[in-house]
């Protein structure tokens, strides 16, 4: 499956999976479509990556801190970077659907609306993870700080999930408005404050080697947010894409 015409889309999807074998198949088909399209053009990933690296470099000049304070600001810098780079990915991912009419093709296919949601969300997640995986080692070199920390990685995973869930839903709306790209951050940022707060606090906890009792509340908050908003986004997505 690729991002060509809706007719090809429809034919491809009916030969790639049958509706009865369902949901998971549809989800992965959609995710795969996004990933293979990106593999060929690499526009989105390179843009997100270069942007993220530039943000990190800019932070060096924006926040001048003595080396021993670096562990304190690292979680904040990392998460601001991920949130902004993530916005790029979310915007683009939906804009492509709209501009090439793929969304209509997808909607015509005998696929549950929410499968489209999960498919897009997973695609967005993979893009975010790709950026995060590359940014982490580069950051640790530039700022001389050890980020080889599975606890930190888990927090990044949980935070990205919550961000991608709400982001995919809201970008589907934003792309259908007059103001499009500009609107997504305005809609998204106030709503993901809990994710940002919890992720930064938990990341900070792991990086500073704090006791688990201090970190667990933040992890719980992240998990709760992820569950609540994944559920709501999944239920509400069909209202956003109906024609």
């Amino acid at each position: 499956m690729d991002n060509r015409s809706p007719a090809v889309e429809q034919k491809a999807s009916s030969t790639v999976h049958r509706p009865s074998s369902g949901f998971a198949q549809a989800v992965f088909a959609i995710t795969w479509k996004d990933l293979t399209a990106e593999l060929r053009s690499r526009e989105l990933l390179s843009a997100m990556l270069v942007f993220a690296l530039l943000v990190i470099i800019i932070f060096n000049f924006a926040i001048e801190l003595e080396p021993k304070l670096r562990p304190v600001i690292t979680p904040g810098v990392l998460w601001v970077t991920f949130v902004f780079a993530g916005t790029l990915g979310l915007n683009r991912s939906m804009a492509i659907e709209k501009d090439r009419g793929c969304l209509d093709g997808l909607l015509l296919a005998p696929v549950d609306r929410s499968a489209i949601f999960f498919g897009k969300m997973l695609g967005n997640l993979v893009f975010m993870f790709s950026v995060e995986i590359i940014v982490l080692p580069i950051y640790s070199v530039l700022y001389n700080i050890n980020l080889f920390n599975p606890g930190l990685w888990m927090v990044i995973l949980l935070g990205s999930i919550g961000y991608a869930a709400v982001g995919t839903l809201l970008s589907s709306m934003a792309v259908q408005t007059r103001t499009r790209d500009m609107l997504l951050p305005i809609l998204l940022f106030p709503v993901i404050v809990p994710v940002l707060l919890a992720a930064v606090k938990a990341s900070s906890g792991y990086l500073q080697g704090l006791e688990m009792t201090e970190i667990t509340p933040w992890l719980n908050l992240l998990v709760a947010y992820d569950i609540i908003f994944l559920a709501v986004a999944y239920m509400v997505f069909e209202y956003v894409v109906e024609e």
């Binding site: 709400v166 839903l169 809201l170 709306m173 934003a174 259908q176 408005t177 007059r178 103001t179 609107l183 305005i186 809609l187 940022f189 106030p190 709503v191 993901i192 404050v193 809990p194 707060l197 919890a198 606090k201 509340p217 933040w218 908050l221 709760a224 947010y225 609540i228 908003f229 709501v232 986004a233 509400v236 209202y239 956003v240 109906e242």
Partner: protein, 232 residues
């Protein structure tokens, strides 16, 4: 467009009277507080405004869900009206809270849970209005509005709890005088009565304003439909 119902006219007059009465109570009846002197008097209307903000918030959330379920435009009208009123009154709440805070705590702003959540809520409202502005089709506008009301509305209590988990110095207004709770004060019966009178007055004011704003929404839709019909 129907002419203003008599009940609404009566409510409007009642609202004005109650507002003036509440003002009078605050300035003439309520006693002075021991520590904060006249500054404390801001509290009565600050809390009452916050209360209306909350009512608007809840009304918007209910209207949003109702629209998604019923697909009836009248819920959309209620939703916008409630959001707008809540926006205005939470704005007053934040500003009066800030004015109260400066002499009491020495700072215009603190990043405590209530204040920060109120600020974020204002941003969500503004985002909501910008979202609606960018959509031409009334049906899609209503649908997206309802979805964002749902997402935004759900995020607010979660945000509040997260920040509370983080820090707070907001005062506890009723209860035992405690030296540890920075900025708290006990309320005498006269103060309590003034407070409840303000709350009830502002509740009536809320209903009146909501009704007026809903009528504006209905008129707006009527005009829009007519424009559409003519341009075809």
């Amino acid at each position: 467009m129907k002419p203003q119902p008599k009940l609404l006219t009566a409510l409007s007059i009642l609202s004005v009277l109650l507002f003036l009465a509440a003002l009078a109570m605050v300035f003439l009846y309520a006693p002075l507080e021991a520590v904060m002197n006249y500054v404390q008097k801001i509290f009565y209307f600050h809390i009452a405004n916050a209360w209306i903000g909350m009512l608007g918030f809840i009304a918007a959330a209910i209207a949003g869900i109702a629209y998604l379920v019923k697909k009836d435009m009248k819920w959309d009208i209620v939703e916008v009206a409630a959001v707008e009123i809540s926006l205005v009154f939470f704005f007053i709440t934040i500003v009066t809270g800030s004015i109260w805070a400066k002499p009491s705590w020495g700072t215009w702003w603190t990043w405590d849970a209530r204040l920060t959540t109120a600020a974020i809520l204002e941003m969500i409202y503004i985002a909501y209005l910008m979202l609606r502005q960018g959509i031409e089709d009334p049906e899609r506008r209503a649908r997206f509005g309802a979805v964002y009301t749902l997402i935004g509305g759900l995020s607010v209590p979660v945000t509040f709890l997260s920040i509370r988990l983080w820090q707070t110095i907001h005062p506890a207004i009723i209860g035992a005088q405690s030296a540890e709770a920075q900025g708290s004060f006990g309320m005498t019966p006269a103060m309590l009565f003034t407070m409840f009178f303000s709350l009830i007055s502002f509740s009536i004011i809320f209903v009146t304003l909501l009704w007026h704003r809903i009528r504006i929404g209905q008129l707006t839709n009527q005009v829009e439909e007519l424009k559409h019909k003519i341009s075809e």
